[in-house]
């Protein structure tokens, strides 16, 4: 077997949104990017340059308009809605600035959510969710609902959830954007632990100091990677 495919490969990746009144918004205009397995990359760039769009396409949350996007060797372009859902379930994990936890579920149930859709039995779900919560230091808060957790704690739950399905690629869109400096540091430390475990990380941030601490920085401008 040849060496495994890189975690992420983009060639001439384009994403155009339909704008109001029949207009078009070109959010990505030919992104070329390769991320090796186990690499941690920070993406920076001005607001509106397409960072979130890039993560959404890479995470199979959104479809590319043109160009090539491969995740773990899997070409994303031909995947239908269901196939993209299955990819999100198993291969990639998302962490969002707004945490995006489900308010009616406990921390543990939020973590177990991907497993539920994967058809894992309840007892096994519980066990794995408990393990993951312990990994992010929240074992004691398993039965808490998101509203009774601090922002940092919510983001830990979100991180545990992103890893529940066995993701090889973690996509974090400004995961520290809603957190104070100290809490942000804790989350970044956790992310580094995850990377140390072999997971590939693509992290979007406005924080240039934070970006500087990563293996590599990719600057986006106007939907393209800046040289």
């Amino acid at each position: 077997m040849s060496s495994p495919a890189p975690a992420i490969e983009c060639v001439g990746l384009e994403k155009t949104y339909a704008g109001p009144g029949g207009g078009q918004v070109a959010a990505l205009r030919g992104v070329d990017l390769a991320v090796a397995r186990g690499e941690a990359v920070a993406i920076t760039g001005p607001s509106g340059c397409g960072k979130t769009t890039l993560l959404n396409v890479l995470g199979a949350l959104d479809r590319p308009t043109a160009g090539v996007a491969r995740v773990l060797g899997q070409d994303l372009a031909p995947l239908d809605t269901r196939a993209r859902a299955l990819l999100r379930r198993t291969a990639v994990g998302f962490v969002f600035q707004q945490f995006h936890l489900i308010p009616t579920l406990t921390a543990e149930e939020n973590v177990a959510l991907p497993l539920r859709y994967a058809g894992v039995a309840p007892a096994e779900r519980r066990r794995r969710a408990t393990d993951l919560l312990a990994r992010v230091g929240l074992a004691a808060r398993a039965d808490h609902h998101p509203t009774s957790l601090s922002g940092g704690e919510q983001q830990r739950v979100a991180l545990a959830r992103a890893l529940a399905g066995g993701a090889q690629v973690l996509l974090a869109d400004e995961p520290t954007g809603n957190l104070d400096r100290a809490t942000a540091g804790e989350i970044v430390a956790l992310l580094r632990e995850v990377v140390a475990g072999g997971v590939t990380l693509v992290l979007v941030t406005h924080d240039l100091d934070l970006a500087g601490t990563f293996d590599r920085q990719v600057k986006l401008r106007d939907g393209r990677v800046e040289a």
């Binding site: 995006h100 489900i102 009616t104 579920l105 399905g165």
Partner: protein, 428 residues
């Protein structure tokens, strides 16, 4: 599953209102369904009364003449090889008519009394199980076998008296009668009942004839003829009897009382006495089934209308839930829920709304029936049951609620499945 219930309880008032709306429709279904089941059961139970007997009625021929049942016709019937018994019967209102007290007594079902040849009563009516005492037998006069429901209603017992058409009879047995309107509530010997029935008529005829002949003195020939007839009184009695015979019903029991044997005898009878109406159990059953079917169609239409309203409530509730939970749908989708899984959650939730409504409808419906039935029966003064809640009805209602919910949840669920996570996760 617990998550599903939790989702439903997020908007308690809304869920409660929706469930109530569904329950209301299901209540209609249960009540009308129980009425329908009662009718259906009646058809079945009536077989105990109708089966194995062919009934002969007079009918008007194409010339507009009702020849009655002649002795020749009866002899021809008795001569048929398949015939075991031919016996006259008379069915009358058990309490007589009192139009002053109840002008609608023609229209409302009232208890009936049947006169039967006492020695054949057990054969003719043995399909209805005797629960106490005995059937009629030869030599009985003012003796009655009474339906259990009537005995209960009127506090009658074996050995005690019962008033039938203002005459006192002795109760000698109780039988389990089906609740059908045509099934008699008491069986008495034919002779005395017929005598009591035609006597007033004979009396009237005697008086009329007396007045007629009093006004016009008879010639010697006519007087001689009248004397030969047994006098004025006897002539009047015989005249009334002839009149009465026009409406007399005969029951014919086949030797082979199976459905097939009864059918065959009916055919033979139609060929033998074409001037008579031959009513076999199949005819009666068909008639009853047609009436039940008609009722069921009406009930079905009412039920569909009233349950569709509940279905629309579910559509509305679930459509709102989809709107409220767009972000959650996006989250679930982001962590790997397929559109099908998202849709299924909403369909299941809608199904639970439908099921809950149906269960509630069944409970309230059964309670309402329990409460209302005695009063309704007291109004009708006949029968012991008006509603029949069968396991089949309960299961069907609950299943229908689930199916209704699932169907109603379908449209909102499709909308949920189409929520684009990339868009909704940007909101906020």
């Amino acid at each position: 599953m617990t998550g599903l219930v939790r989702d439903l309880l997020r908007q308690r008032l809304r869920a409660a209102l929706t469930v109530s709306g569904v329950a209301l429709g299901m209540l209609t279904l249960v009540v009308l369904g129980a009425l329908g089941e009662h009718f259906r059961a009646l058809v079945d139970e009536s077989k105990a009364y109708t089966r194995g007997v062919v009934r002969l009625f007079t009918k008007t021929n194409p010339d507009g003449i009702n020849p009655g049942i002649t002795d020749e016709a009866l002899d021809a019937v008795r001569g048929l090889p398949g015939v075991a018994v031919v016996a006259p019967t008379l069915v009358l209102y058990l309490d007589g008519f009192d139009l002053e007290a109840d002008p609608l007594s023609f229209a409302t079902p009232r208890p009936l009394v049947e006169g039967l040849a006492p020695d054949h009563a057990a054969t003719l009516r043995g399909g209805m199980p005797l629960v106490e005492g005995r059937w009629l037998r030869a030599g009985d006069e003012r003796h009655a076998v009474v339906a259990r429901w009537l005995a209960q209603r009127r506090g009658l017992g074996v050995g005690g008296p019962v008033t039938i058409r203002h005459v006192t009879y002795e109760v000698v047995g109780l039988y389990d009668a089906p609740d059908a309107p045509m099934v008699p509530a008491a069986v008495v010997p034919y002779g005395p009942l017929n005598h009591d029935f035609i006597t007033p008529g004979a009396e009237r005829a005697r008086r009329a004839l007396g007045e007629l002949f009093g006004a016009h003195p008879l010639g010697p020939m006519a007087q001689a003829a009248l004397a030969q007839e047994g006098g004025l009184e006897e002539a009047a009695r015989r005249f009334v009897e002839q009149q009465e015979a026009l409406f007399r019903v005969y029951e014919v029991i086949p030797r082979d009382r199976s459905a097939e044997g009864t059918r065959r005898l009916a055919e033979d009878l139609r060929a033998t006495v074409p001037d008579l109406a031959v009513i076999d159990p199949d005819r009666i059953e068909q008639q009853m089934e047609r009436a039940v079917a008609l009722f069921l169609v009406v009930a079905l239409i009412v039920t569909v209308i009233s349950t569709v309203v509940g279905g629309l409530l579910i559509v509305n509730t679930m459509a709102m839930a989809v709107l409220e939970r767009r972000r959650e749908i996006g989250i679930k989708s982001a962590v790997g829920a397929t559109p099908g899984q998202v849709a299924l959650e909403f369909v299941a939730e809608a199904g639970v709304l439908g099921l809950t409504g149906a269960v509630l409808g069944v409970l309230v419906g059964v309670a309402a029936i329990r409460l209302a039935e005695p009063a309704l029966l007291a109004q009708l003064e006949s029968g012991s049951r008006l509603f029949l809640v069968t396991p089949r009805l309960v299961v069907l209602t609950v299943a229908y609620g689930g199916v209704l919910g699932v169907l109603a949840g379908g449209i909102p669920a499709l909308r949920a499945a189409r929520v684009d996570p990339a868009i909704v996760l940007r909101e906020l």
